[in-house]
Symmetry: C2
Subunit: 287 residues, 2 copies
Amino acid sequence: MADRTYGDIPGFPAGTTFVNRAALTASKVHRPLQGGICGGIDGAESIVVSGGYVDDEDYGDELVYTGQGGNDPATKRQVADQELTRGNAGLARSQLDGRPVRVIRGAGGDPKYSPASGLRYDGQFRVVDHWHETGKDGFRIWRFRLVTLDGADLPPLPSGVAGPAERVATVVQRLIRSTKVAVGVKLTHDFTCQVCGLRLMTPAGPYAEAAHIRALGRPHDGPDVPSNVLCLCPNDHVRFDAGSIYVDATGVVRDSSSHAEIGPLRTSPAHTINPTQLAYHREHHVP
Amino acid sequence: MADRTYGDIPGFPAGTTFVNRAALTASKVHRPLQGGICGGIDGAESIVVSGGYVDDEDYGDELVYTGQGGNDPATKRQVADQELTRGNAGLARSQLDGRPVRVIRGAGGDPKYSPASGLRYDGQFRVVDHWHETGKDGFRIWRFRLVTLDGADLPPLPSGVAGPAERVATVVQRLIRSTKVAVGVKLTHDFTCQVCGLRLMTPAGPYAEAAHIRALGRPHDGPDVPSNVLCLCPNDHVRFDAGSIYVDATGVVRDSSSHAEIGPLRTSPAHTINPTQLAYHREHHVP
């Protein structure tokens, strides 16, 4: 495993500017001289957002970042499919582990959020989603949604783990949201997993999670309606979101790597599922 | 199931004051005329914090609230054990579902955060933990930690689910934190669950969660060290935190309701577990 450093680099707080990539490399805030992602199969520690990919989107405290590979540096166009390897695998790994990723913006990026010249370290972000799609140039690209860890987005640290120093090391790995729609779907299925049939019992009653089939939020913008929600146990929720399993067009749950049948999706007459959302999940989250 | 209303009541925003319990009941912000918890087995919608229990703790944006039952209203002392039933079960249920709980403070509570007279609706909180302990009067009490949903504690809503109206309905059900220590323990066990042996695979690699045996934060204040952490699959993490399973003094994982053996806790020579923390978990999280 590479000798990685996650989180802030002492002496280079968010806002630090660098005249060029050589200065950035020297600081170790982003070590590669050329690559946009510093990472590998064990995780990604930093990315540079500099307008190198036509599919990147910058919203300031949130980024939709295109993975690496298949890109012609001369034209900035995609000329081949991207794979979930190297830095792309690293960003996906950092999502699974809940590790912070340093984000550096360069002058070539979106002028609204990028420095006028050189590069600027813009603090720690976390990877909250990754998926693939067909980019503007017609090839498969991997995309990563990152949101800032600075400012008001992180729930308060538990008492006893206070202070900015700890903040660097304490990141949200997984966050399950609850909506009225979500609770309704869980009640319909009586907290029984639609994939494996488990009804996870606790002393306070059964527990399940609601999985949005097409994710809420940018850029998927799935709707918060029952037909876009599955009632799952936590393990199958992780598997579904990560693309380990999918529901095929006939309603059978399958393993993504072997496409072997796991079993029929358990359904209820009181809960209609929209097949278009299941197709969206297959097309974007299954490798 | 009771006809419950979760979240803000239209016309009575946070900060609304009430001259007495009758006025509070009329508003439906807290419906019972006397009880501290409005809730049952299906969930809890509101609580009143008014100094009725000697074990309550108020930190403003965070509360440690004592459940109901076993209390002598004349002396405010505990005279019997509390059970995980009625309103207590409701608060635990609302934690599992990620439902918001309205918090009303009365003049009898901690003067630092309570109104000088009457009652005040202080907005929506979420239940983040519940456990039992021996209270100051020597009887079992159930305790609930609640943190405010107002202000800076909630991660931003996904784009497309914006606005205060949706905020009411969108609550964090479960939040898995990652720390350097946590990631280290997971690597030691190669992401294999110490309870069931599952190594949950995703296209980006294996996934596991780190469970703090004695919880971080108030009032448990467990340490963030490897000897206080288990590597678990998400399902067993939920079971462990909820007290569905525990590790006995001989290192055997058992079901809390039947005390039947599930199997030995899987261990690694590179990961020493502190038996004191396992005892703490048994004493406070197993009903």
